[in-house]
């Protein structure tokens, strides 16, 4: 069986090639633009050079043409915004739908979350299968292959997206996946300055500061790479302290494998209290400083 792998980042390319190898005996890594190709990861590396000014997505037609020629049965794509478009266009071309954000894949049955983790859905592609997934489950799996290079001829896109400019996003460098203790701030923080009391607790505990999605959206109180949940980070720290967080499923799926969960919330009926080990019903403005003081 033939598999295509689409990736923008080298780690994802390696991981997804390893994933593809578990189901396919013939793996082609489709490398669009200047992706750094990992060593010996696929049987074939199909290189698509991007003409100046073209958005990555403009390669979709070229990828479709390559698929017509090589007839992959299954496609693995890294879940970036750009590749969701390339994968989606390829799926449309193949008469398929992309099964997105797959968390497990066994015998052609893909699992992914439904309603932000309220349920897990098991699905099967009816025809050709196109998946997006991270390579997290395949970090240890070996990728292999001769990396035979094929230069793919550019197919002019019918609906070109022209790149005018690009600006890197300056990241905070914070990596909460490595933190043993995480304090998480929710909308119970009424103003940005109040975050200082969460920071004081973090300092005392050597903890990282995370948050719910609304604190990074519309308001920019904390960096986007620190929100936890279905569309953000999944973390498993030893200790998770949620302050002013209601406990919606979309958030909790990102932290519900933590060792011990602590919660502070003014509303005794907040869903978080059904999902925590220790809770305090109270105002974070007074409770957090009291905890910091007592530690």
């Amino acid at each position: 069986m033939k598999a295509f792998v689409l990736a923008e980042h080298t780690d994802a390319a390696r991981g997804l090639c390893a994933a593809a190898r578990t189901v396919a005996d013939d793996v082609t890594l489709v490398a669009i633009g200047d992706v750094a190709v990992p060593e010996s990861c696929a049987d074939e590396v199909a290189k698509i050079a991007l003409p100046e000014g073209n958005a990555v997505e403009n390669a979709a037609e070229t990828v479709c043409a390559l698929a017509d020629e090589e007839a992959p049965e299954v496609v693995f794509a890294e879940p970036t915004r750009r590749l969701k478009i390339v994968a989606g266009r390829l799926a449309a071309h193949l008469g398929a739908s992309v099964i997105t954000d797959v968390t497990a894949l066994n015998d052609g049955v893909a699992e992914s979350m439904y309603f932000g983790g309220l349920a897990n859905r098991k699905m099967k592609a009816v025809g050709k299968a196109v998946y997006t997934m991270t390579c997290a489950n395949y970090a240890e799996a070996p990728a292999s292959g001769a990396n035979a290079v094929k230069e793919v001829a550019w197919v002019e896109p019918a609906n070109a997206v022209k790149v005018v400019s690009r600006e890197p996003i300056v990241k905070s460098g914070i990596d909460l996946t490595k933190a043993d203790v995480v304090v998480s701030a929710g909308r119970g923080f009424a103003e940005e300055e109040q975050l200082d009391i969460a920071r004081a607790l973090c300092d005392k505990l050597g903890a990282g500061l995370g948050c719910t999605r609304p604190l990074t959206e519309g308001v920019d109180w904390l960096p986007r790479e620190t929100y936890i949940g279905v569309s953000g980070l999944t973390i498993s720290p030893k200790v998770y302290i949620a302050a002013g967080v209601s406990g919606q499923m979309q958030h909790m799926v990102g932290c519900n494998t933590a060792g011990t969960i602590f919660a502070i919330n003014t509303d005794k009926n907040a869903p978080i209290f059904k999902q925590c080990d220790y809770g305090i019903v109270g105002d974070l403005k007074t409770v957090l400083p009291a905890i910091t003081e007592a530690l």
Binding site: G116, A119, A125, N159, R166, K171, C276, I291, A294
Partner: protein, 251 residues
């Protein structure tokens, strides 16, 4: 110029119950606008106001989405008219079929310059209907838009990707999906809701939808993790001390 906004109607997840067999029970759930489609509606309304355009909302779903409160809600947010397909043949469509159904209805509307989609639906968050819709219409697509500037024939879009902000230009008509950052949804007033009742609501016939491309085998709530659930009022004697002791023990 006409702006179409694609609005998905979903059961309110706050009211979805988990049954004893771990299946989801939607019987108590009201039909609501998928959260991030509220931002898409607002973006469409703001763009229309800036360009003297009109906004048509298009929604496709099961018979249950034909709900008068919901329809008024959509129309109270700067939307001029609504085209809705509410037919059980359109329940639980996959992205490919949803796009085909939306495209069939959008092709019946004249003078469409732009179709806006939300960031992803509340149930699936597949972020695929926008792409498949553009393919079905034969138009360009841009996702993750945080700003849109349109002329009569082009749109310049700022998109916030994982590692960079990219500014791109596409010719119109085009499909653009927007992130929640693009516009904060308005809170409709009583006047808006009353006016909404008088706006055109076109209940359209169900188009032919393609066969399923994804077969769902099961959809079950995860086993709940066992948590202690030791909750105390802050004012209770020793509450903070006990909490801190537990915290120290867990470190």
């Amino acid at each position: 110029m006409k702006i179409v906004v694609a609005v998905k109607v979903v059961p309110d997840d706050q009211d979805i119950q988990v049954a004893a067999n771990r299946e989801l029970d939607y019987s108590k759930a009201h039909q609501i606008i998928s959260t991030y489609d509220l931002n898409a509606i607002e973006a469409a309304a703001q763009l229309a106001a800036a360009h003297g355009a009109t906004v048509t909302a298009v929604a496709v779903g099961s018979a249950a989405i034909d709900d008068s409160k919901l329809k008024k809600n959509i129309l109270s947010r700067g939307v001029d008219d609504l085209v809705m397909v509410a037919d059980d043949s359109c329940a639980n469509l996959d992205a490919h079929a949803t796009a085909a159904a939306l495209a069939a209805k959008i092709n019946e509307i004249d003078d469409v310059a732009l179709v806006l989609c939300g960031d992803g639906s509340a149930d699936n968050y597949a972020q695929q209907v926008d792409v498949q819709l553009a393919c079905a219409l034969g138009w360009p697509v841009v996702n993750a838009a945080t700003n849109i500037e349109a002329t009569d024939s082009t749109a310049t879009v700022k998109r916030t990707l994982e590692d960079e902000v990219e500014t791109v230009e596409v010719s119109l008509p085009a499909v653009i999906s927007v992130t929640p950052d693009i516009a904060i949804p308005r809170i409709p007033g009583m006047k808006d809701i009353l006016a909404a009742g008088k706006k055109p609501m076109n209940m359209a016939a169900a188009p032919e939808v393609p066969a399923e491309t994804i077969e769902v085998i099961e959809c079950l709530a995860p086993e709940a993790a066992d948590r202690l659930g030791n909750v105390a009022e802050a004012s209770a004697e020793g509450a903070i001390d006990n909490f801190v002791a537990a915290l120290k023990a867990a470190l």
